[in-house]
Amino acid sequence: MTVLLLILAILPIIAGIVIKVMFVPASNGIDITGAHIFFTIDLPFGGLPISESQINSWLVILSLFFFCLFLTYGLKTKDMSKRQIVAEWIVEKVEGLVRSNMGEFFMGFGPFICAILGLSACSSLLTLVGLFPPTSDINIVGGWAMMTFILITYYKFKAGPLIYLKSFGEPVPFLAPLNIISEVATPISMAFRHYGNVLSGSIISVLIAALLTTLSQLIFGKLPGFLGEFPFLRIGLPAILSVYFDLFSGGLQAFIFSMLTMLYVSGGFPEDEYFKRKRLKEAKKQNKQAIENTNGGI
């Protein structure tokens, strides 16, 4: 059963490779383009192109779903399996991260932060198997940043609209336009930071590949036949660079994105006012109830 779930977790990635091989025209590796569009659904505002990045992120979600099932299959309180240890490790790490960065009030954010980390890291790591990384598509990362923005605004609104509006007038009222700009800039900067890092990684990889191809043609071009064409210098060095651009950068960007989400959401949340308001509300409720009780008594 566990093996089956593990296979199901890996299957989406293989499916992604198959789709890529079947439908995406091969390139020589030195093109810089966006995601391949399979087809477009007609909708207002420009239609919905179903592109590689969409498909790949769905595949990642599917894969992560089965991976979760694989990890949490047959949990026991004693004699834990390695899978269970990994599952508990993930949960405890993420919860610890949320607790230290956001506090006890936001403990419900654990799965959300875990989702950002998992989706972002796995999407970036798709480059390792040669797939198009969805994180190098501005729309994908933009969606996540929008989610973060919605959360920030939601938690700012929790203490009431007046306090939300007042927060723009701080520290001095005439800075309000700047505050509004910075508010809007937050998700945009987050999206562009993540997308730009992953995309620039691919671009640099492509540029270096092109450079190395040219160089090896210069050096080995005199060799006869196939040997002259083969870019020898492209062996080795791109792999090392890929460790940085794909593994390290991908993981780091996922971490930064989730970290910023946590900091912005918990930082924008006016805790004191919220609890004050909550207390007031409860007092009012009790008052109301007391009045109702007395009315009922009469």
């Binding site: 919905l48 949990l75 989702a115 996540w144």
Partner: protein, 166 residues
């Protein structure tokens, strides 16, 4: 080529990606965090119950131990008391025995003394008689005549008494 541009903003794609994130959030919540937290809570409860049990057993053992200690202490006292009693009894008996034996010994001694006295007296009497007889016989022989036995006896007796007095 049927590709997207490097930067192409599409509202639908953004929405779908947003929904993807929410879906993954729900997946993680339902299939990773919920079961793991449940199992953690369960384990916590189990550990707590095990601790409780251990504590209870420990308490029981301590109670048992204290009761045993109490019993041991009373047993010691009992033993002390018994030994003391036995010793006392033995001493009493000893004394009694000692007393009895002393008594016996004294009685024996007394008896022996009385015997000795009596023997002595008997012997004296005997000797006196003998002496009287012998002296009377002697006197008869010397005087050649029958003497008054009664007078003689008195004479000798007085003589012997004189001897004894000196």
């Amino acid at each position: 080529m049927n590709n997207l541009d490097i930067i192409s903003v599409n509202i639908w794609q953004i929405l779908i990606s947003l929904c993807n994130l929410v879906i993954l959030f729900l997946i993680f919540k339902k299939f990773l965090f919920a079961p793991v937290k449940k199992i953690l809570a369960k384990r916590q409860a189990e550990v707590a119950s095990v601790y409780d049990e251990a504590q209870k057993e420990h308490d029981d053992a301590m109670e048992l131990k204290s009761s045993w200690d109490e019993k041991m202490r009373t047993a010691d006292e009992e033993a002390d008391r018994i030994v003391k009693e036995a010793v006392e009894k033995a001493e009493n008996r000893n004394e009694v025995l000692l007393y009895e034996s002393r008594e016996k010994a004294e009685s024996i001694l007394r008896k022996a003394k009385a015997e000795a006295e009596r023997t002595k007296a008997d012997a004296e009497e005997e000797i006196r008689k003998e002496i009287v007889d012998v002296s009377s016989a002697l006197s008869e022989r010397v005087l050649g005549r029958e003497i008054n036995m009664e007078d003689h006896r008195n004479l000798i007796d007085s003589f012997i008494d004189n001897l004894e007095d000196k």
